[in-house]
């Protein structure tokens, strides 16, 4: 070998690099070795081996292959090497913000856990929230994490980018000239910054048009004010100052107001103990709304007959000074009702209030303004300010847009949010019209408008983007984002800035520079304060002192208000589930039952029992409703108390282009809705013969038992004011001390949690249900499982009708675990998975529960919820971000129920401990339902403290325990519903 090496070295010229002596020697063996792919023995093995060996090796190979799975995945965790100042991991941060719905803003506080928003609360500083929220605001957080949101900029369905869109716009805008072909369609907005941008756009493109359209709007209210006062004005009501209220087709406690303020004000006058006189509410309405359920007297009338009622009332009160022609001769019952209302209103001059709903024509609103003025209510219970947004006749504007589109006069149409293709009046085929031009659609999800658009832009969620909004009275708030846009969406504001050609394009800069220009030198401090408070001080509009012009109203009314034709009419309402369709992909709202019908996951054509009988219609029969050549199909649902010859339809269902939750849920009725019958109009109803399964969480049960016909007592207690006063004179009714089998536990020490729920205040608005769902990670089970009785809500709203089927009264009862001291569930659990805390809470230890369901059977209130299946299976990753980290996500096979938000109690307990072991203050702990409640009907606190609010409530004469005779000693007691009927109408 050495010789070979020598030989080879000697034969080299120049420098040679070698790897080994073998290579250097360059033997044939080495050459062979280099050429061989496999090492020695590798291939020989097979050559010489038998089939058996091969099989053995293969078997071993397969066996060993499994070993690779034994390796644990490598996961690295990294510590926060540099602490963020003031940030404590696990402690939530709260930011003030505000959102607008249909141009009405509400201030919110959003709880963020580790950078992700998880819970929405009302902002106590905001005049229209007062710390409360409605069900929609509670559910908004789920929309933020909706995996079906629009995620990607697209051009006609092909993936594109913001940069490409901006480049296209740069090119396109150069061709626009004076903007004759530019149209911008957006939802109603109160944003002052957007208003300034609109002005810029109008200046840059003088021939362009900006159209605002809301499928649910309050235009007619402003129009009515224009009729009465000569200028569009926003009325503001003081329900807390009114002793007598007349609501004309106005669900002011429900969907006709989008803030907590009227509810809070109204409810403050329903508590007989507060020393104030109980107010009295009269409602005239076609649908049975929650306002109707709160009313002391309710008159069923078709929506078109309400005008006649208003006229008759105006005549009775002689408000115009001229003889009004009453269009319809009222029936006996109506006349009696009218006389009593008129008398009551007159007896409470300056302390009464008449309100009309947004469905009613402008003339009715004008009449109402006149009536309020005549009653001396103006300046007392009603005041007027300039509206928070530029009023416009949106129906005329969209009609014009349709003509322009059809005539090809539009080259570029921007749609800045909303879903106009779905909910514009059905006078035109909007999808086809949109295809005639270049449509740039900014959309939150891949909705019908998105599908019809050329440029498809993902819209940022209100919790992802900067903005500013005005409340109904003008109070401005900064909308601060809670999280970076999850899918790279942008806000309408940012797109508007792009259209306006602004250099600054980021929402933050736009909003900040606008307000800086308003504030001048103090901008920095004011900005910080505005963000912190959630409201900008001094931005509310001052009340306008105006006087209604009676002759003008008189003239308008005489022309416009004609007798309503007899026959069936269809009325459109926003829905408790989807509002106008915007929440169609929100499972929380779909699963929260409609307050009156208790319907879930569907909409229905609501009919009165008499009308249903006349038409031979049963629940679930699919009806074809037609009007003016347009039709809609919707299953019927009989609602006791609904007006005869009227069918109530809920908007926002039957979304064809929607995420996986809302696709195909319900029936679209927008196809019936044109400019002429935008809110209501005559319709024909035909049974199609098809049926549709409607699922309700509660049937139309009353407290009257079937078979026996006896009334069940001790469930809902109701008194008239007179009965209540008599009872209050005797003091609180004390039950006999019953005998107990088990020894009494000493509850006299420490905090003892309890709750009082005021049935007089509760309006049944669902806010508590959705708040509880959000707070306690309550799963959604879907229509089919609700049909099987497996809904999971920890708090539900029981609705009981009483009286005649045609014209009943209704009462709402929030029902969650009442935390019995002698809990029937506890003694029957074999593994002691549900047990009492020393503070009186009946607690569930999910880990101990084996799921015998005995506790559910033995619970007389049926508030326990069982995980019949794994409801949390297959949840998309992003959807998991909404979970409250303080609350366990329950697995299948375990029982769960309300525990008074024990996580909130513990949070405040540790906070109090950290702050020098001080006692927890009364009102410091708010349960989720209590915090959301706009009526302040739920009060939670320490019943060991005689001075706590809850203790005081529990001492009242109308405090009672549900099913008291069972001796379960519930910690949640109820305050009886007190009605204030007019003696003349009883």
């Amino acid at each position: 070998m050495n010789e070979l090496i020598q030989l080879n070295l000697s034969s080299l010229t120049g420098r040679k690099y070698w790897r080994s002596l073998n290579q250097l020697a360059d033997t044939p063996e080495f050459r062979q070795w280099v050429e061989r792919e496999f090492p020695e023995g590798a291939s020989e093995l097979l050559d010489s081996g038998s089939r058996r060996t091969l099989l053995k090796l293969m078997a071993a190979g397969f066996g060993l292959a499994g070993l690779t799975a034994c390796r644990r995945p490598v996961e690295k965790i990294l510590p926060l090497s540099k602490g963020v100042e003031g940030y404590v991991h696990g402690r939530p941060l709260h930011y003030a913000t505000a959102v607008e719905t249909c141009g009405v803003a509400t201030g919110l506080i959003v709880e963020c856990n580790d950078g992700r928003p998880t819970k929405v609360e009302g902002n106590p500083r905001h005049p229209f929230s007062l710390g409360a929220t409605n069900a929609f605001q509670q559910a908004m957080i789920l929309d933020l994490y909706d995996p079906d949101r629009a995620r990607q900029v697209q051009k006609q369905g092909v993936k594109s980018s913001w940069a490409a869109f901006e480049a296209w716009w740069l090119e396109q805008s150069a061709k626009l000239g004076d903007g004759a072909g530019l149209r911008i369609l957006s939802p109603r907005s109160t944003s002052p910054t957007l208003e300034s941008l609109k002005a810029e756009i109008a200046k840059k493109y003088p021939q362009s048009a900006w159209i605002e359209y809301e499928p649910v709007n309050f235009d007619r209210v402003l129009e009515g004010a224009r009729l009465a006062f000569g200028q569009p004005l926003q009325p503001h009501y003081r329900f807390d100052k009114a002793d007598v209220i007349l609501a004309l087709d106005c669900d002011f406690l429900g969907l006709d107001t989008l803030s907590a303020q009227p509810v809070r004000q109204f409810a403050s006058r329903r508590r007989p103990e507060d020393g104030q006189e109980l107010n009295r509410l009269y409602a005239v309405e076609s649908n049975f709304t929650i306002t109707g359920a709160m009313a002391d007297h309710r008159l069923r009338a078709r929506a078109s007959d309400v005008a006649a009622f208003a006229l008759a009332l105006a005549r009775q009160l002689n408000v115009t000074g001229a003889e009004l022609n009453v269009v319809n001769q009222p029936a006996d019952r109506e006349r009696k009702f009218l006389a009593a209302v008129a008398k009551d209103l007159l007896a409470h001059r300056g302390r009464s209030l008449v309100v009309a709903g947004p469905r009613q024509p402008a003339e009715v609103h004008a009449l109402v303004a006149l009536i309020n003025q005549a009653l001396g209510n103006a300046g007392q219970t009603v005041s007027y300010t300039r509206p928070p947004y530029q009023p416009s006749d949106s129906l005329a504007a969209v009609q014009k847009l349709a003509e322009d589109l059809a005539a090809g006069r539009v080259s570029t149409l921007f749609v800045l949010g909303g879903n106009p293709v779905f909910n514009l009046p059905a006078n035109a085929d909007w999808a086809a019209l949109f295809r005639k031009t270049t449509v740039v659609a900014l959309a939150a999800d891949e909705n019908e408008t998105w599908k019809a658009a050329t440029w498809q832009l993902p819209e940022a969620h209100p919790f992802e983007s900067w903005g500013d909004v005005r409340a109904l009275d003008g109070t401005a708030s900064i909308r601060q984002p809670q999280i970076q846009p999850l899918f790279g969406g942008r806000s309408a504001l940012e797109i508007a800035a792009l259209i306006a050609g602004r250099a600054e394009r980021r929402g933050h800069d736009l909003v900040r520079s606008f307000w800086a220009s308003q504030w001048g030198a103090e901008a920095e401090a004011k900005w910080k304060k505005a963000l912190y408070d959630g409201v900008i001080e001094g931005t509310a509009f001052p009340p306008v002192d105006v006087k209604a012009d009676a002759p003008r109203v008189f003239a308008a009314v005489q022309v416009a208000l004609k007798p309503a034709p007899a026959g069936v009419e269809a009325v459109f309402y926003p829905s408790w589930h989807t509002f106008d369709g915007r929440f169609a992909n929100n499972a929380w709202l779909h699963e929260t039952p409609d307050p009156m019908t208790k319907l879930v996951w569907d909409n229905a054509a609501l009919l009165s029992p008499a009308t249903a009988k006349r038409l031979g219609v049963k629940d679930g029969d699919v009806l074809e409703i037609s009007s003016g050549g347009r039709t809609a199909r919707c299953p019927a649902l009989v609602l006791p108390g609904h007006a005869d010859d009227s069918v109530s339809l809920q908007l926002g269902f039957g979304r064809a282009a929607c995420g996986r939750v809302g696709r195909g849920v319900g029936h679209r009725v927008e196809s019936l809705r044109a400019a002429s019958n935008f809110w209501f109009g005559p319709a024909e109803i035909r049974k199609t013969g098809a049926t549709c399964r409607l699922v309700t969480t509660q049937e139309h049960h009353t407290l009257i038992e079937p078979i026996t016909g006896l009334k069940r007592h001790n469930i809902v207690e109701e008194f008239t004011l007179g009965e209540y006063r008599e009872r209050a004179g005797h003091g609180k009714h004390e039950s006999h001390p019953p005998t107990d089998l088990f020894p009494e536990f000493d509850y006299s020490k420490g905090y003892q949690w309890g709750m009082a729920i005021d049935l007089s205040a509760c309006i049944g608005c669902n806010a508590c249900m959705v708040a509880c769902t959000a707070e306690n990670n309550i799963p959604v089970v879907g229509k089919d499982q609700v049909a099987r009785g497996r809904e999971m809500h920890w708090i539900r709203l029981d609705r009981y009708f009483s009286g005649e089927e045609d014209d009943p009264q209704a009462v709402m009862q929030p029902m969650a675990c009442v935390q019995c001291e002698k809990a029937p569930c506890e003694s029957v659990c074999p593994v002691a998975a549900t047990a009492h805390s020393p503070e009186g809470i009946n607690e569930m230890a999910y880990n101990r529960c084996v799921g015998t369901r005995y506790c559910l059977n033995n619970c007389p209130y049926k508030v326990r919820r069982f995980n019949f299946l794994n409801w949390n299976k297959d949840i998309p990753e992003i959807r998991k971000m909404v979970f409250n980290p303080d609350v366990t996500v329950r697995m299948r096979g375990v029982m769960e129920k309300c525990n008074y938000c024990v996580q909130r109690i513990e949070e405040k307990r540790s906070q109090a401990k950290a702050e020098g072991r001080r006692p927890i203050r009364d009102g410091e702990i708010l349960t989720a339902c209590q915090q959301a409640c706009p009526a302040d009907a739920i009060v939670f606190g320490n019943i060991n403290d005689p001075e706590s609010r809850v203790s005081k409530l529990k001492r009242q004469a109308r405090d009672y325990s549900v099913l008291e005779e069972l001796n379960t000693k519930p910690r949640t007691s109820y305050l009886a519903r007190v009605r204030n009927p007019n003696p003349e109408l009883v």
């Binding site: 509660q698 009353t702 038992e705 026996t708 469930i715 005995y854 209130y861 019949f868 299946l869 299948r892």
Partner: protein
């Protein structure tokens, strides 16, 4: 005795074994079932039973993998067919121990030819019943041992002994254990007989092991009889206790329709009622398959019909009492729940129950029906159905409309409910058929005991060898 003197034709003591069987005939007849080839009927029955048993396992597998939601259970009806079937099967299991223990203590010799099969039936019924308390839980993998007072790292504390479900665990497991012991102890001499007759080494080994070295010596017989008597004494209170305790699941709750003190005796009577019905169903079948007419005589069957008549009347009386007390208590919820049973959405179930449990046994007043095999077979089936409806009515109607009308609901079973129930029949039948095939289904030694009495009573029959 005076009557006897008047009419000597009246047979005071009809023979318990007919057909002039000798000791060896008894041994041969019973052993041949185990030793010979299985008849065709046995294979047909197995072909029916085994797939059903497999269906049970399939349904249970699906249940455990998916959740209780595959059943029709809901809120407010937290228990549906699961507990209905549990109580029903436990009730079925009642007759075995009753026949074995109580009738033994009362020296009712007629029990001998049916007690073995009845005991086996008890065991298998308890096995079927025991499936439900475990699998009706949301997390059976936990319930399997968390319900027993074992020290374990999960619970860190004792179970809740106030819960009737805990009492159930003890009552059912004690009942199952004692029944199994009683049955096995009774089997020992017969197993030894099979061992002695065995022709193959496998049979010899297996029966040899099972017979625990039984030689039939006088000392062994003395000990054996004492042990059997003691076990009979132990089992007797269990017959009463197990169903009383099962009834506590309902009676200690506060639900109207459940919360009644009549439940323990009412449940025990119902259990005996349904247990005897099931024994009649099975015995008439076994008698037909194996031709055991001489061992399971009309006297046995007639006696069982009489027991059914008596217990059926007790049950009927209890139904009436419930209604009376509901009215008399003036408790609104109680009144409603009973009226709702009879006239509410579950009226069909209630009236099925009345027809099957109250009206059907009335036929047993007539000797013609008591001694007709088809009649008693059909009536026993009716009673089995009726007793199932009784449990269903108690559970479903009380739950579906309780206190708050807002939470009222309705229970509808799913295919898994039905499959699980049908499957327990499969398991029961499979086990019973295996028992018939491999173990002496009639107590050889005990039958010989009664045979001897008859011999000494004067019937000229030659005794056979052991």
């Amino acid at each position: 005795m005076a009557d006897l003197a008047i009419d000597p034709r009246v047979e005071l003591n009809p023979p318990l074994v007919t057909g002039g069987m000798t000791y060896s005939d008894v041994t041969d007849k019973i052993s041949s079932i185990v030793e010979g080839k299985a008849p065709k009927q046995w294979y047909i029955a197995m072909a029916f039973a085994v797939p059903l048993a497999l269906l049970l396992f399939a349904c249970l597998g699906y249940l455990v993998a998916t959740g209780i939601g595959v059943w029709g259970n809901n809120s407010p009806v937290g228990w549906g067919w699961d507990i209905t079937n549990f109580v029903w099967w436990i009730g079925i299991g009642h007759a075995g121990t009753l026949i074995s223990a109580i009738l033994f203590l009362f020296r009712q010799k007629w029990r001998t030819s049916i007690n073995r099969a009845a005991e086996a039936m008890t065991l298998f019924a308890v096995a079927c019943a025991a499936i439900y308390p475990l699998f009706h839980t949301g997390r059976p993998w936990r319930a399997a041992y968390w319900l027993f007072p074992l020290p374990n790292e999960f619970l860190h504390m004792w179970q809740n002994f106030r819960s009737p479900l805990m009492w159930d665990v003890f009552a059912v497991s004690t009942y199952g254990t004692v029944s199994a012991l009683f049955w096995y102890v009774g089997l020992i001499p017969d197993l030894a007989t099979l061992r002695d007759r065995a022709t193959t080494p496998i049979r010899k080994t297996i029966y040899g092991l099972l017979s625990l070295g039984w030689r039939g010596s006088a000392t062994q017989w003395r000990h054996y009889e004492l042990a059997y008597l003691l076990l009979a004494g132990l089992s007797t209170p269990l017959v009463l206790s197990v169903h009383s305790i099962v009834s506590f699941d309902f009676a200690t709750s506060l639900l109207p329709g459940w919360h009644t003190t009549i439940f323990p005796p009412y449940f025990v009577a119902g259990a005996v009622f349904s247990g005897f019905a099931m024994v009649v169903t099975l015995m008439t079948l076994a008698r037909w398959i194996y031709g055991l007419e001489n061992l399971i005589t009309m006297k046995h069957l007639e006696n069982m019909c009489k027991v059914m008549l008596a217990t059926g009347m007790i049950v009927g009386f209890a139904y009436g009492t419930e209604f009376f007390i509901a009215w008399y208590s003036a408790n609104q919820y109680e009144r409603f729940i009973f009226l709702n049973r009879a006239f509410g959405p579950y009226a069909w179930a209630y009236w099925s129950m009345i027809a099957c449990n109250v009206i059907a046994p009335q036929f047993f007043w007539f000797k013609r029906f008591r001694t007709s095999i088809p009649a008693m077979f059909i009536l026993s089936i009716f009673i089995n159905i009726g007793m199932w409806f009784e449990r269903f009515v108690i559970i479903a109607t009380s739950l579906h409309r309780d206190f708050l009308p807002s939470s009222w609901g309705y229970f509808t079973p799913t295919w898994v409910d039905i499959g699980t129930y049908a499957g327990t029949f499969g398991l029961f039948l499979t086990l019973f058929l295996l028992f018939l095939r491999f173990l002496p289904s009639i107590a050889i030694s005990e039958v010989k005991g009664v045979l001897h009495q008859q011999v000494s009573a004067g019937h000229a029959v030659h005794g056979g060898s052991h």
